[in-house]
Amino acid sequence: MGFPHPSHERETPVLSKHFGNHEAIGLEGWRKQGGYQALQKALAMQPGEIVDIVKASGLRGRGGAGFPTGMKWSFMKPGDGKPHYLCCNADESEPGTFKDREIMRWTPHALVEGCAIGAYAIGAETAYIYIRGEFTEPLERMRTAVKEAYAAGMLGPNAMGSGKRVDVHVHKGAGAYICGEETALMNSLEGRRGNPRIKPPFPAVAGLFGQPTTINNVETLVAVPHILMHGADWYKAMSLSSPKSTGSKLFSVCGNIARPGNYEVVMGFPFKDFLYDLCGGPPKGRTFKAVIPGGASVPIQTMEEAEATKMDYEGFVEQGTMLGSGGVIVIDDQQCMVKQIARLARFFAHESCAQCTQCREGTAWTTKIMERIRDGEGTAKDLETLLSIADNMTGKTICVLSDSCAVPVVSGIKKFRGEFEALIKKTTYHPVMAAVA
């Protein structure tokens, strides 16, 4: 559904089929919709079989990285005698993204089921669902769903009578975007500051509590039951453009647009149609100016680029950006790009964990310069400095928050330079220097 708007006929509601349907939230209602059949089926299979099916389906991580899920699961070595863990990354904090929230609110049992299957497939008896602290309702609904599932024997030492143990625990975060980074999530779960870890070692080797761990996004996990029930080929067939991008994807649309909400379309859907037809185009009396299609960390697109895009991993890359989390932020002609980029920089500066020098200092420095330009106190030299700082912040840190802060600055200056220059004073001296004199 273009939830909260009525579903558009050109959507493909698989994961979002029950958004808005209060009936589907509880265990009984979910079972009526066919829920837990996939888990039943999975528990009767070999874990390796499940991994192969997921591999064949072409499912890729929906959190933002797009890493092939089946391949990620295959990194977990069976029979190594160590406890394996599955972490579900429900920390959804990428600006513009709000799909996992809706999945958990409306179909909590879908996630319980997805986690259970995922855990079983990777040889884990325990799955933790790390939900950001701000998600009050999703937390409530997930906790209730887990309770219901235990009571009905879906989870526990004898999951669905299979003789196998599957435990799922909900873990509440406390306000940190960086905990959406997989190694930071693990640190946070362990009761530490949410600092990302250096890789290697990779989570599949030494992750949560030092044990082999897989971290998957909510949307990724809720796709798995469908793949098991309908088959890998069915999932692969949902691909309109690049064969490397399969299945359906929930795009969270927000900003200056007629019908913001979550839309589920097949990979490769034309972005132009998506924005103007499905989402209703710009608000009355305005025109679109820019789009950030994958959450705040992907390059800003001009409308020219956006309108030529096919909505899949390869398609967005071809048009100068990335699919990322699929959080589509639309910006109209009434907005100031400089102001918004400054605000995004401030976001990253607020969220930096403080480990790496370039991120800790660079995000704050970038914010200060951007805000100075926004307020009319910028100089031409500032643009050079911003780009230089952005270069220093890219490819040099433990995680990519630093790179993410550089992205809107670089793409903004590249594609909307005029707006920056319009705000820059034409004087040659700098205000601070004058104050000192």
Binding site: A176, R193, I198, A349, H350, E351, S352, C353, A354, Q355, C356, T357, Q358, R360, E361, G362, T363, A364, W365, K368, I369, R372, K381, T385, S388, D391, N392, G395, K396, T397, I398, H430, V432, M433
Partner: protein, 534 residues
């Protein structure tokens, strides 16, 4: 020619990895980091958060190097070597990355060099001078936080902090006392602690050394001396029997600071606060400055040419008892034991003790109960330990008080001696009736060796000049023995040590050269008694 590092434990040969660093081929054991491998290749990769005595953090990003065929720069402290790697430390890319880190570190860093204690020994200064920017592009207001007293000897200046987290990791992983944390996030982050829980751990002072910049400072050393005015000498800490390798720092012939010196076999990189802050006695001014002999019932200053024969006269043919300080060098104790052997008699020592304080993260490292450097040496050289240094004295012995300040003797014991000769740095009040007083250097004013509780013999060098006419202890004793007819003639402490090594199987074969600056363990033998079989 490739530099090869021989693995020290030859039980199972670790696999050796061959790589090239800055054009130099090097072969190192598997599992070593590129940064450590670079050291073996003679290349220093600039870094802040990495320290060989701490777990790897990889946060400062200063050590990023270019590795051929790798898409991104690699943090060399956190990347293990791989066969055939070609690493460039000073390529344009690596240097640009470091320049970027330095610029970022300096944007909020105050221009405190003129008033900062770290100046002259600051790694931020050093690397910025070496390869940082000439100018600053930062034109915004700088972040400000007030100075904080962390307790103990430590002051924290958040404005200068580069968040390398060495201090946090030290307290957590080495001291096992997590009193420091990183507080807040982003550019608001600072090192913090919990109110009421201070840095009073007995080893907390090490965070000051570990801090690469002037963020963690010693209150004791605050504004005392400039790094470039200070002379540094290798030595051994006399605070307890652990025998940590240390550096004595002096200015204008005064000890201004003590710092640990790396020694993998004893103290790794660390030193306890007791040893570190206990240096004021080295500068005490109430020293014996001239040899003295008793004339007309009073001590009168004289010269060495008069005092030595006078002492020999007192000793001739008399049984002698030596009250030795356990802080005397092996050389001095050896010569004293020869005196005891010559005249007949005995020697004893007493050691002040205090509570032991281990550093849990390092094997066999603690502030030891014995608060003296050379109790073990004294034992090995035949002196008997007692609760009083005069316990073994017989009535009528000529008493030689050797560096002992006589703080642990019982009332009336001194009166049993027929005569008292004081050979030391200070004249104890209760020994004012001594007939001869010979002034000596303390352990910062002469060269010698100590033996620590594990039997490790370590050299200490002369850090400053002794006051007045005071002379090294081994020299004074050597002259005294010569005056009594013994063959000595040592012109260097190494010669005295050589004689010691020749006479005592525990020290057999040792020379100053073979000891180097890390020492050697004694050879295990039966412990001899004084005056008995060697």
């Amino acid at each position: 020619m490739a530099t090869t590092v021989e693995p020290t434990k030859a039980v199972t040969q670790p696999k050796m990895i061959n790589l090239t660093i800055e054009g130099r081929p090097v072969s190192v054991p598997e599992g070593m980091s590129i940064l450590e491998a670079a050291k073996h290749a003679g290349v220093l990769i600039p870094h802040y958060c990495y320290h060989p005595g701490l777990p790897v953090a990889g946060v400062c990003r200063m050590c990023l190097v270019e590795v051929e065929k790798s898409p991104k720069l690699a943090p060399s402290c956190a990347t293990t070597v791989a066969e055939g790697q070609v690493v460039h430390v000073h390529s344009a890319q690596s240097r640009e990355a470091r320049k970027g880190v330095l610029e970022m570190l300096l944007i909020n860093h105050p221009l405190d060099c003129p008033i900062c204690d770290q100046s002259g020994e600051c790694e931020l200064q050093d690397y910025t001078f070496q390869e940082g920017r000439q100018d600053s592009r930062y034109e915004e207001p700088k972040r400000f936080n007030p100075v904080e007293d962390f307790g103990g000897d430590v002051l924290y200046v958040p404005n200068r902090c580069i968040l390398c987290t060495r201090c946090v990791r030290f307290m957590d992983d080495v001291a096992h006392d997590t009193v420091l944390n990183v507080s807040e996030r982003g550019d608001r982050a600072v090192i913090g602690k919990f109110e009421g829980k201070d840095l009073t751990h007995p080893w907390a002072g090490n965070v000051i050394d570990l801090c690469p910049v002037g963020a963690l400072l010693s209150k004791d050393f605050l504004n005392k001396a400039r790094s470039w005015d200070v002379t540094r000498t290798a030595s051994v800490c006399p605070g307890c029997s652990q025998g940590c390798s240390m550096t004595v720092e002096t200015r204008d012939n005064m000890v201004v600071r003590l710092r640990p010196r790396p020694n993998d076999s004893v103290n790794e990189y660390f030193m306890c606060d007791h040893g570190r802050l206990n240096y004021r006695w080295m500068n005490r001014q109430d020293r014996i400055e001239a040899p003295m002999i008793r004339r007309d019932n009073a001590l009168a200053a004289t010269d060495w040419e008069t005092a030595i024969p006078a002492a020999a006269q007192v000793l001739k043919g008399k049984r002698v008892y030596v009250a030795a300080s356990p802080n005397l060098s092996n050389e001095a104790l050896f010569l004293l034991s020869r005196l005891v052997k010559l005249n007949g008699g005995a020697g004893g020592f007493a050691v002040e003790t205090g509570p032991e304080a281990p550093l849990p993260g390092v094997e066999d490292l603690a502030l030891r109960a014995d608060r003296a450097a050379n109790g073990k040496g004294a034992e090995l050289l035949g002196f008997v330990r007692g609760d009083s240094s005069l316990a073994g004295m017989q009535n009528g012995d000529v008493l030689i008080v050797a560096q002992d300040e006589l703080t642990m003797i019982r009332d009336g014991e001194l009166a049993r001696a027929s005569a008292v000769i004081v050979i030391g740095a200070v004249l104890p009040e209760i020994a004012r009736h001594a007939v001869v007083v010979l002034p000596t250097a303390n352990c910062t004013e002469e060269e010698g060796t100590f033996t620590n509780l594990r039997g490790r013999v370590q050299r200490f060098m002369q850090a400053k000049a002794a006051p007045g006419m005071a002379r090294p202890t081994w020299w004074v004793l050597s002259d005294l023995l010569a005056a009594l007819g013994e063959k000595t003639g040592y012109f260097l402490p190494s010669e005295a040590f050589g004689a010691l090594a020749a006479a005592h199987p525990h020290f057999a074969g040792m020379t100053y050269d073979s000891l180097g600056m890390r020492g050697l363990p004694v050879i295990q033998h039966q412990l001899p008694g004084v005056g008995g079989t060697a």
